[in-house]
Amino acid sequence: MQDSSFVQLFPQQASTFAWQVDALFGYLILVSLVFSVPIILALFYFSIRYREREKYAVPKEIHGSMVLETLWSIIPFFVSMSVFVTGAIVYFNQYTPPDDSMEIYVVGKQWMWKLQHSTGQREINELHVPAGRNIKLTMTTEDVLHSFYIPAFRTKADTVPGRYTYVWFNATTPGKYHLFCAEYCGLNHSGMIGTVYVMDPKDFDNWLSGNAGGETPVQVGKDLFENKLGCASCHAGGPQQRGAKLEGLFNTEVHLVGGGTAVADEDYIRNSILNPASQVVEGYQPIMPTFKGQVSEEQLNGLVAYIKSLSPNAAAAPAAPAAKKPDEKAPAGKKADGKEPAAK
């Protein structure tokens, strides 16, 4: 990875879309050269050829040229449009996580990254991921803005208090990579750095089993839902339940009281827990109390993960990666996600 013995001039490429960003960069360098080299050459040529030969000479007056003006308006326009379109395509790729992504939850906090795998392992300022698998990070923060930035993967997104943002990548090359906080977040901003370990899938499985840590987010959520917060008393129990039905809810469109619809995504669920009265679903009374201040960001992640798991078809299929390793003595969360809710 990083080699301090020589001056590095180009960053490593370690994700599937890194080459696209680099290609775009190359294209822009090409565009810059194609436009600036002639301008610079013209500046030098004119400066020499038309240098002052006689004091106070009166050169021929030239007012302008409609043809030239049109040309150098239209051509840059089409060039900049090509930059816009290619930029947009790369952007689309960077921010559209594939459906089969393995999910990891990220909470930023002054001044550390707290990460949790869907299998339960927790990490601080370190992230272990397998090479060659799509990984989606669902991110938020406990305090101020941060920005999750892995230069080698060419991806970055701010984490915003009060909502979720997402980053995904598919790491190509095993190795160690920098993880930076890129949005200024106060005193120890430059200390909010970490390391991403991209591992061979086999090594990753070993790492996972060696670090069988804690409950999975779904289990955390289930526990909160059924026991600690008592959500189940309203949101479970069949037709006479007072709260909205949550099974199959995720990523569907819900109709709200007072008209309007919303897509029940992560932010919607989060908001419904913290500000229930703001988005009441048609057919229900606004009786749910707010849970603001009672749940931490990580517990919220758990609740969201659990509610997502109640919709096995709509949610991305996070179960897949875990299911691939039947040989391991499965840590508690191994067969998590999509399966358990069916039992409910």
Partner: protein, 116 residues
């Protein structure tokens, strides 16, 4: 052309501008106070039965009316040359730009556009 208009109106503006007199100004003041009181009472009512967010719209409507009255009478735009009218309208247009382009973010968040 525009400045000719300015010059044309200048002597008119120089005249002490009691365009609507003290009673007129008091009337405008009354409108403003009434608007404020109205804003308060509307804020206490739930107007969501009309459509969601109706409260905000009504409050903004009252505020806009008050603003227009202040601009027209207190700030004398009513009696000003066209260039001043243009500037006043231009400023509101700019405000609209700010609101519109900010709202294009808010209204398209979480609509499922591009995956989320």
């Amino acid at each position: 052309m525009a400045e000719q208009t300015t010059e044309h109106h200048n002597p008119h503006v120089e005249v002490p501008n009691e365009h609507i007199g003290i009673p007129g100004y008091l009337g405008v003041f009354a409108v403003l106070v009434l608007g404020t009181i109205l804003t308060y009472y509307v804020a206490l009512m739930d107007l969501d039965w009309i459509f969601p967010g109706a409260n905000t719209l009504v409050a903004l409507g009252i505020a806009f009316t008050k603003m227009t009255v202040v601009g027209l009478f207190f700030m004398h735009v009513r009696w000003s040359p066209r260039l001043v009218w243009m500037s006043a309208v231009g400023a509101f247009f700019w405000l609209t730009i700010m609101f519109a382009y900010t709202m294009q973010d808010y209204l398209t968040r979480g609509t499922g556009f591009f995956g989320h």
